[in-house]
């Protein structure tokens, strides 16, 4: 047993949350410092994991296993593979940048970041982060589910308390109910899998590596794949269950939107892949056409709805639906290119959308409006954020040289292999995306600044700049050097392909 790095990463935020909750409420800056320290540590460790994952041996690494409830075969079983390692790093990055941009400032009149009860805010956010890390590293189905739920409920509080006054109650409740419904539906499937595998093999275990060999009958897989996959995929924002997501994004405070779109949606997709596709491969083959239709609709429809939005955050929210649709599209191909692309897209979209929401938050904090027509001329005040947004926009459009292209290209190639018509239709979204991204960049950043904003705007803080730079760099690095991430994801994909039976 080596250095238990995964459990440390997973529990750092939780411990930090506990520490923060025990600190006096008026110690806001100390609370923030604790948060930043914990986030930095988690980031460093997750990067360390990323670079120390041995691609030559592949498979699951950094394995830790502690018996948790032997009577039911539940164990705290952690390990990462090529699919989850980038996501762990993504979580570290989003957590780090999320803390930076919600630092808040109690002295100035600028309402940036979180000023109201930062202690509770960071604590809830970090509990959520623990849950996210936990899902990505869990190899035990029960624990995966456990962490999954942990990642869901703080969302309600974070949105309802610190969110946008006008819709937060509605959005928070909608989001929680959607996600909760999705997760319990999956739970039923998970429990059914657990018992059937017990019948088949006589092993009482939630170990997913064991469950892969459970020999679920074809009929069983046909029945249970859809509830399990879709239940998790609700969190991934799959059409037609995506409705909660734009509302949630809009209502959430900036850092939460970042987490939400950046990481949480990946959580849904990841769980859908790991539990749905990997444990029920026959079911996946049976139903992949349906997933492909859903995803294809999501891609085009999400882009179109984003196109007609007048609210900056809604626009990003729907563009997330579109981009997560591409992830699902990649999953539905069940082939190497598609899955690899989906894996990279999860990372790429996470970084990109975190950046989008961060910058939107910075603008909103200063202008108090997100209506695109009411904004303009931001490039003169915040050039740094402008460049960041443009880079994000280019990633979003799938512009070569950025991570979006590296991710989307293989997805489309994967789709070609299965059904070329879907690839052709889905590609329409590229144009729509380009149109609304360019239009909005022009209006928000380069148009004339409305009179009522003149004089009220200030440049972003240095912490914001650090956050923007971090996120942008990642997207460019992956875009220019796909081998930074793709081979790793491929290793994960190989394992999935093995479960799907060759190919």
């Amino acid at each position: 047993m080596n250095f238990p790095v995964l459990s440390i990463i997973t529990f750092i935020p939780m411990v930090a949350a506990a520490i923060m909750l025990l600190m006096p409420a008026q110690r806001k800056n100390e609370t923030r410092a604790v948060a930043l320290a914990a986030a930095t540590l988690a980031l460093i460790l997750s990067i360390w994991v990323y670079f120390n994952y041995d691609q030559a041996t592949a498979g699951y690494q950094f394995i830790e296993r502690y018996n948790w409830l032997p009577a039911l075969g539940i164990s705290l079983y952690f390990g990462v593979d090529g699919m989850s390692t980038p996501l762990v790093m993504l979580t570290g990055v989003v957590m780090f940048t999320g803390v930076l941009i919600s630092w808040g400032d109690d002295d100035k009149h600028v309402m940036a970041g979180i000023q109201d009860r930062p202690r509770e805010f960071f604590a809830f956010l970090f509990i959520l982060a623990s849950g996210v890390f936990g899902v990505f590293v869990s190899l035990d189905l029960f624990m995966l589910f456990f962490f999954y739920e942990i990642a869901v409920f703080p969302m309600y509080l974070l949105i309802a308390i610190w969110g946008w006054v006008q819709t937060r109650e509605y959005a928070a409740m909608k989001l929680t109910l959607y996600l909760f419904i999705g997760s319990v539906v999956s739970l039923v499937g998970v429990l059914a899998m657990f018992w059937v595998q017990y019948q088949n093999t006589g092993l009482l275990t939630f170990d997913m590596l064991q469950m892969e060999k459970a020999g679920f009958s074809q009929a069983f897989q046909y029945i249970w794949f859809l509830p399990v996959f879709l239940g998790f995929a609700v969190l991934g924002g799959i059409w037609p269950f995506h409705n909660w997501s734009p509302d949630g994004h809009v209502a959430a405070p900036t850092a939460v939107s970042m987490f939400h779109a950046g990481v949480l949606m990946k959580l849904g997709a990841f769980a859908a892949l790991r539990v749905g596709v990997m444990l029920l491969p026959e079911g996946a083959k049976q139903w992949s056409w349906l997933i492909m239709i859903f995803a294809g609709v999501a891609v085009v429809y999400g882009a179109y709805i984003a196109f007609v939005q007048m609210d900056l955050k809604y626009m990003i929210g729907f563009s997330s639906v579109s981009h997560m649709g591409l992830v699902m599209l990649g999953f539905s191909t069940l082939n190497r290119a598609g899955l690899t692309g989906a894996g990279v897209q999860m990372f790429s979209h996470g970084v990109m959308t975190a950046l989008f929401f961060a910058i939107t938050g910075m603008i909103y904090d200063r202008s108090h409006t997100r209506q695109i027509p009411e904004l303009g001329g931001m490039s003169k005040i915040m050039p740094f954020a402008t460049v960041g947004f443009i880079i994000g926009g280019l990633v979003s459009m799938g512009m070569p040289g950025f991570s979006g292209f590296v991710a989307e290209f293989p997805i489309f190639m994967g789709v070609w292999r299965v059904q070329w018509l879907v690839a052709v239709i889905a590609s329409i979204s590229i144009i729509i995306t380009a149109a609304y991204i360019m239009r909005n960049i022009r209006q928000v950043f380069f148009g004339d600044m409305p009179a009522k904003l003149e004089g009220h705007m200030t440049d972003v803080t240095i912490l914001d700049k650090v956050a923007i730079t971090t996120l942008c760099l990642l997207m460019i690095i992956i875009g220019l050097f796909p081998s930074f991430m793709v081979p790793m994801v491929e290793k994960g994909v190989e394992n999935i392909l093995r479960l799907l039976g060759g190919a």
Binding site: L21, F153, F180, V188
Partner: protein
């Protein structure tokens, strides 16, 4: 002969009696204003009793002692521990309850009912069982109506008494029929008596239905739940907490033992009946909880719903099912006590009990807000709190036994639950007091509350995270049923 095993089997009860004696002796010597310290004595005594029992009174292989009256096994022992823990917490919560905690009788009544519960959990004979139930109930009737000047409390006490008396009479009739059909009152012999098909299914179900009336009242399953909201609302808050947790758990202890041990031969029929009851209970409880504006009534209906969830484990009629029921009760007991404790701590300062009065609580007392969060999320079944794991186990048992539809009903109900639990949290965290001057309306926590609530929160989280020990005890308890 009085052997050491016999002694061990009723060691906790002996210790409880000792504490009661001690209180009787000490209390008159204390001045009026120091009487609340009896609470420290009770709670400390109960904790000591738990430790001593744990050290010296652990059961070995299950045996029947005291002339066939008492079953000495893990099932009973685990429940006893739960009851005593609940009793200790309730005693602490009594202390600052103006009209209750300053009178020594309250603690005595609490101990008396605790004694009855302990015996309910271990009764191996119908006669013993009935005695234990009455021993539990009568002090609780008094406690429910303890606030003499308060019309609601009086009403609550009276209502509880009437319902309790009626249902226990019906149950007693059922017991007598059982004796009439089988010729024995020994629970452990009933199974073999009924084995031979001596009884038609129709009359068996009739008999069981009568018994269910009595137990259903205790655990408040629909349609025997009518008393719960009124009584919870009217009676002193800590008493309501005790009623909704320990008393309900005691009912389940009896239910599980009686039905698993004595009537497995009629299983297909009564499990189906229970499944239907469980579905109705959950649904009615949750739906009625939705429109509530009083926090105590809301928790009351939610506790009805929770009885329904726990019943899923009974329906499963497997070892996992039984274990999951026991585990569920442990988690639920800690959680609901916590909830009532918070309500108590809040209303002691503010005198208010409506949900909307909780606006701004997280600013008036961040600690109380967080505890509320833990309690309500646990009730909603969210990790890392006890309620989540408990619910998963119960559902797992249900699915294992093939009751998929029941589990789905349970899941639909959890969703309703999430809605109204989160609604309460919305008041706590989101809304503000009308004047937005929360800092002038802080809610201080007195020491007994702080201790009780802290222990309960830690308990709720421990059950939800390090669930292995609790589950293995529950499992050990469940094993004794087969």
């Amino acid at each position: 002969m009085f052997t050491s095993t016999m002694f061990a089997s009723i060691l906790p009860e002996i210790l409880i009696l000792t504490i009661a004696m001690l209180i009787l002796v000490v209390e008159p010597f204390w001045k009026e204003e120091k009487r609340r310290n009896v609470g420290w004595l009770t709670a400390g005594g109960l904790l000591a009793a738990m430790v001593i029992s744990f050290l010296f009174g652990q059961p070995g292989d299950p045996i029947t002692t005291l002339g066939g009256m008492v079953r000495f096994d893990w099932l009973g022992f685990f429940f006893k521990m739960l009851f005593m823990f609940a009793g200790a917490a309730t005693a602490l919560l009594f202390m600052d309850s103006e009209k209750v905690g300053h009178r020594g009788e309250a603690y005595l009544l609490l101990l008396a009912s605790l004694l009855g519960m302990n015996l309910m959990a271990v009764s191996a004979d119908l006669v013993m069982l009935y005695l234990a139930i009455e021993t539990t109930s009568i002090p609780l009737y008094v406690l429910a109506g303890f606030m003499l000047g308060d019309a609601k409390s009086t009403e609550a006490g009276f209502k509880y008494l009437l319902f309790g008396a009626l249902t226990s009479t019906v149950m007693l009739y059922g017991f007598s029929l059982v004796f009439g059909f089988s010729g024995t009152t020994d629970i452990y012999q009933l199974a073999s008596m009924f084995q031979a098909g001596s009884l038609s299914i129709g009359s068996a179900l009739g008999v069981l239905a009568l018994i269910v009336v009595g137990l259903g009242f205790k655990v408040s399953i629909v349609p025997f739940h009518f008393w719960a909201p009124d009584v919870y609302e009217g009676s002193p808050t800590p008493v309501a907490g005790f009623l909704s947790t320990a008393s309900k758990a005691a009912g389940f202890a009896v239910l599980v033992r009686l039905f698993f041990v004595a009537f497995p031969s009629f299983a297909p029929s009564w499990t189906l009946a229970f499944a239907i009851l469980a579905a109705i209970t959950m649904t009615v409880g949750n739906l009625l909880a939705l429109p509530q504006t009083n926090i105590k009534r809301l928790i009351a209906f939610s506790s009805v719903a929770h009885a329904g969830y726990a019943l899923i484990g009974v329906v499963a009629l497997t070892q996992l099912g039984a274990a999951s029921v026991v585990f569920y009760l442990a988690a639920y007991l800690a959680t609901n006590l916590l909830a009532f404790g918070i309500v108590m701590a809040f209303s002691r300062v503010t005198g208010l009990e409506d949900i909307k009065d909780y606006s701004g609580l997280s600013r008036r007392s961040p600690a109380l807000g967080l505890m509320m969060l833990a309690a309500f999320l646990s009730l909603a079944g969210m990790p890392p709190f006890g309620g989540f794991v408990a619910k998963v186990f119960v559902f797992a048992a249900g699915i294992q036994a093939g009751y998929l539809w029941l589990v789905i009903v349970g899941i639909l109900n959890s969703i309703i639950g999430v809605y109204y639990y989160l609604n309460v949290l919305k008041y706590v965290y989101l809304y503000r007091m009308p004047e937005q001057d929360e800092e002038n309306h802080l809610i201080p926590l007195s020491r007994p509350y702080a201790i009780a609530l802290a222990v309960l929160v830690i308990g709720v989280i421990l059950i939800g995270t390090v669930f292995a020990p609790w589950f293995s005890w529950s499992d050990a308890a469940a094993m004794n049923l087969f």
